[in-house]
């Protein structure tokens, strides 16, 4: 199972915390309130009963008193039901005489023993309290006081407290979500800096000052990028230095080889073959060094200028000795592009050469635009590029499968790496796809920039 993200976890943590705290507080406050209210209610019930007991005692002090009338005279309201137990007989006010059956026996025993008492019970209308007061040796006065109203209040209280607890939980979750967002936000700086770096911008750094808590991360991150870029620069400089140092001996080699080659008709067959080999390899060596130097200059920014891309493409076709007619411009396309002319000539030349070596020659160069992009497609009618190769085809020293036999003189596999690098220097992308109808399509997409 996928682990939930940091934000989800922080949010959940805050919500659970808020739930636990608010539930505990709610429970505690409910119980305290309930106990307090019940005690208050009980006390008032007892007090009222004693008061009524006094009235009843006074009413009974006559000879042959009308017990029912005495009880009826009590102003007990609807919630209180008074009963009297006298000489083994029960007296009630009216039809609710059944009340006597709700009085617990142990309370009866206690009160009969001359001890006043109160007990909470449940009656058909809900919780109630029964208070018993002995009036004399043979008479006990009971009042059953319904606490239905209190019960309803407590229910309302419970609902309110539950709602408050739920709201607190939701508030906790919201707070957690916000806090997580706040905490995670500095991460987005790291992410965007890392994105910039992977896009080739090695000037991207984090400012350790803006987020004191992330200062260490920022410092380490910057150090890492510094080292990485220094290392890349060293590598590039090394490649440039090596290539540069190779130029003078190569010049000697190339010139000497051409002298040898000129004499090959006067040589033995073996020597002539060797002279041809030396000369050809010197030439290939020279191409390789030229390409390596081109690659090692990747840190230099492009020098864009307004350029008629169609004219430039036709010029490259001429120098590559292929028909200018393959260059087409889609209707409505602005052909003045902001590009580095030298690099773009190289891009096109390399793509055409690539098509020649691996795709049977370029068949179309299509210039167009879409939304905010300039598009340039170079098509061929070769076998295309397998999805597996597409990922690596722009890497250095990658050669097409057809060239793996290495019989022909098709370069060192730096051509497309140079294309990729030059396009990247223009902040563009180069991709290879299948051309509709077979073959490969190399597509360059550049962001349109104003002139």
């Amino acid at each position: 199972m996928k682990r939930p993200g940091l934000r989800a976890r922080v949010t959940a943590g805050f919500a659970i915390g808020a739930l636990v705290v608010s539930a505990a507080v709610a429970l505690l406050s409910y119980q305290l309130t309930e106990r307090f209210l019940l005690q208050e209610r009980e006390r008032s019930a007892v007090r009222a009963t004693y008061l009524e007991a006094g009235i009843v005692r006074a009413g009974l002090s006559t000879d042959h008193p009308d017990i029912a009338a005495v009880l009826r005279a009590l102003d007990t309201g609807g919630k209180r039901r008074a009963v009297l137990f006298r000489d083994g007989r029960w007296y009630g006010r009216n039809a609710d005489f059944g009340t006597k059956s709700t009085i617990p026996l142990d309370l009866q025993d206690m009160v009969n023993g001359g001890q006043p008492g109160a007990q909470r019970i449940r009656i058909d209308t809900g919780p109630a309290i029964v208070v018993g007061v002995p009036l004399d040796a043979s008479t006990v006065f009971y009042v059953v006081d319904s606490m239905q109203e209190l019960n309803r209040s407590l229910q309302v209280l419970a609902i309110i407290i539950t709602l408050v607890a739920a709201a607190t939980t939701a508030g906790g979750a919201a707070l957690g979500w916000y806090a997580a967002r706040y905490v995670v936000r500095p991460m987005s700086y790291v992410v965007s800096a890392a994105d910039n770096i992977s896009a080739g911008d090695f000037t991207a750094r984090l400012d350790p000052g803006t987020e004191p808590d992330l200062a260490r991360l920022a410092t380490s991150f910057n150090k890492m990028v510094d080292q990485l870029s220094a290392r890349m620069q060293r590598d590039r400089r090394f490649a440039a230095d090596v290539s540069h140092e190779l130029r003078s001996p190569l010049q000697t080699l190339s010139a000497a080889a051409s002298v040898l080659l000129r004499q090959k008709d006067h040589m033995s067959g073996r020597a002539a073959a060797a002279a041809v080999l030396v000369s050809e390899e010197a030439e290939r060596f020279q191409d390789l060094v030229t390409d390596l130097l081109e690659l090692s200059r990747s840190d230099q920014p492009a020098e864009p200028e307004p350029t008629d891309i169609a004219e430039l493409a036709r010029g490259v076709c001429r120098t590559q000795k292929i028909s200018e007619g393959i260059v087409t411009v889609r209707p409505g396309t602005d052909v003045i592009w902001m590009i580095d002319r030298r690099r773009f000539q190289q891009i096109l030349a390399n793509l055409i050469e690539n098509a020649r070596h691996h795709g049977g020659g370029a068949t179309a160069i299509d210039i167009g635009q879409r939304d905010e992009s300039w598009l340039l497609d170079v098509d061929d009618e070769g076998p295309g590029v397998s999805p597996l190769d597409r990922a690596i085809i722009f890497d250095r020293f990658v050669r097409g499968r057809t060239a793996s036999a290495r019989g022909d003189n098709d370069g060192a596999g730096l051509g497309l790496a140079i294309v990729h690098q030059h396009v990247t220097a223009h902040a563009g992308t180069v991709t290879v796809t299948d051309r509709p109808g077979g073959g490969a399509r190399f597509r360059i997409a550049l962001p349109r920039t104003s002139q």
């Binding site: 000697t252 051409s258 130097l293 490259v316 120098t319 002139q451």
Partner: protein
């Protein structure tokens, strides 16, 4: 040939002799300039990194003495170096290692540039600028200008197509006979030409840049 690397001097000398040239090779700019004063060569090949007087200064001094065609043969390919050498007055610039056939082609193209222009025999006048292709003369407000062969050829190409835009690639093909060349050659030569034929080279009135396309000589 002014080249301080012994092996290159020797191998390139041999190879160029094979191509039919007579080569006089020296190791320093000082020797080269002395030799040129004594017995002028048809074309000078010069390296940029030289002991003593460097290639840039050497080109400037040779150019001061005359319009001998100069080709830079250097391992340095920074824009800065290329432009500086061309601005000093070099006609062409090749980067080591250069194939002998390529160098030979450059030399031949430079020699052809020296010939009179065949296509435009008549005198052409543009706003005070008078071009006499046959005589190889250019006059600005009646005063004769001293143009190198490359500058002269470039001006003639533009003049033949006056009022039309010529792309840098077209000019490279027509003047330098490059299939595929360095457009900086054109840009720097245009700049040099402007300094000679414009009244104020900062605000050209005759030789105009057409953005994204190339250059044209105003009719």
């Amino acid at each position: 040939m002014i080249e301080d690397d012994d092996r290159i001097r020797m191998s390139l000398g041999l190879a160029l002799e094979d191509e039919g040239y007579t080569v006089r090779a020296v190791a320093t700019a000082e020797e080269g300039m002395a030799s040129q004063r004594q017995e002028p060569a048809d074309t000078v090949l010069v390296d940029l990194m030289l002991p003593g007087i460097d290639g840039f200064e050497c080109i400037r001094q040779l150019r001061r003495d005359g319009d001998v065609p100069i080709i830079v043969v250097s391992a340095r390919d920074d824009t800065h170096d290329v432009v500086a050498a061309l601005e000093a007055g070099a006609d062409d610039y090749v980067i080591k290692p250069v194939a002998v056939k390529e160098l030979s082609a450059r030399l031949r193209a430079l020699r052809r540039r020296a010939r009179p222009v065949a296509v435009a025999p008549q005198i052409m006048v543009f706003n005070g600028l008078e071009i006499r292709p046959q005589a190889g003369e250019v006059l600005l407000h009646g005063n004769q200008l001293s143009l190198t062969r490359t500058e002269f050829r470039l001006l003639c190409e533009l003049a033949e197509h006056a009022g039309l835009v010529l792309s840098r690639q077209q000019l490279l093909e027509r003047v330098w006979e490059y299939d595929y060349g360095d457009e900086r050659l054109v840009d720097v030569h245009i700049g040099r030409l402007r300094q000679k034929i414009e009244d104020n080279s900062a605000t050209p009135q005759r030789l105009l840049t057409v953005r994204g396309l190339g250059y044209k000589l105003q009719r």
